[in-house]
């Protein structure tokens, strides 16, 4: 399994994602946003952070980076899976690779906390750290088959408690919580491993 981790100016979860992927024995490489080579990769991560300083709106300016066109080609070729975490989710919505949009939390605060989620009919706990995580669903679109991760106590006011979406057909997975921060026992939670195992399983399908 080979993973590529895209780095935009302002990305700050690239190293965490690298270490988490390595824990599963995945071979990783960083990809600067100006590059256009996604050859020989099975999984592409758009990690968390503040790409382009979240200027104008989170994820808005990152959608113009050259690598995004290559991400679209990667999806078209059905080469593998795309995973957007936090800012990565915002970027995927801004590029319209996923429906809807993420905006300011309903309490107007940056929320940094552990949160309980529903994942495959079980409860898992993952950390969240965002100010713009309130998911707004597009009108008239049925998202039932895309909802793969939901908040139990909806901390940010997201529509339908959505914490993550998965477009199974195009293999585009995205979530606001940080599974890469919940892999190593030393940092507390380990439920993030379940998300990485899920990614591996989906890729093998």
């Amino acid at each position: 399994m080979k993973a590529g981790i895209i780095v935009f100016p302002g990305t700050n979860c690239d190293r965490d994602t690298f270490e988490a992927c390595s824990f599963f024995g995945w071979e990783c490489r960083y990809i600067w946003h100006n590059e256009t080579d996604l050859n020989n990769l099975d999984a592409i991560f758009l990690p968390g952070g503040f790409s382009y300083g979240d200027y104008i709106c989170s994820g808005r300016l990152a959608k113009f980076s050259p690598i995004i066109q290559e991400v679209k080609n990667f999806i078209k070729r059905k080469q593998g899976i795309i995973i957007g975490i936090c800012n990565g989710f915002q970027i995927l919505c801004e590029t319209k690779l996923l429906p809807g949009v993420l905006t300011t939390n309903i309490n107007n605060k940056f929320i940094c906390d552990d949160t309980v989620l529903t994942f495959q009919n079980t409860e898992i706990t993952l950390p969240i750290a965002h100010k713009e995580g309130r998911y707004i669903a597009p009108k008239g679109k049925n998202l039932c088959n895309m909802m793969f991760l939901q908040y139990k106590n909806n901390p940010n006011g997201s529509d339908y408690d959505i914490a993550g979406l998965y477009d199974r057909e195009n293999k585009i997975l995205a979530m606001m919580p940080h599974p890469e921060r919940a892999v190593f026992k030393e940092t507390g939670l380990t439920d993030g491993r379940k998300i990485f195992e899920f990614i591996q399983k989906e890729l093998n399908k």
Binding site: I56, L61, C93, V101, T103, I106, N108, G157
Partner: protein, 84 residues
């Protein structure tokens, strides 16, 4: 020729605006105004080169749609376009 434009970007109707809601709470608490409704938005100034006004307007619309707003969430209004 050089053109100048002013753009207003606001949340679409029906989308809750936490900044506006917080400001409304303060207005009520202090008694400044109990009935005021506030919606926050963004204001942009653009200066660009274009051969004529129609071309400038077309460019400004593209900028608004692609960079300054997201139609899922926001609406934009071009408040002013003038030659400078």
């Amino acid at each position: 020729m050089k053109y100048y434009a002013e753009i207003k970007v606001t949340l679409k109707d029906g989308i809750k605006d936490p900044q506006g809601l917080a400001a409304e709470t303060v207005l009520k608490r202090t008694g400044i105004n109990e009935s005021a409704s506030i919606r926050a938005g963004k204001f942009f100034e653009i200066e660009l080169e274009a051969a004529k006004k129609e071309e400038a307007l077309e460019n400004i619309q593209t900028i608004c749609e692609e960079v300054l707003s997201n139609p899922c969430l926001e609406k934009y209004e071009i408040l002013k376009v003038k030659q400078v």
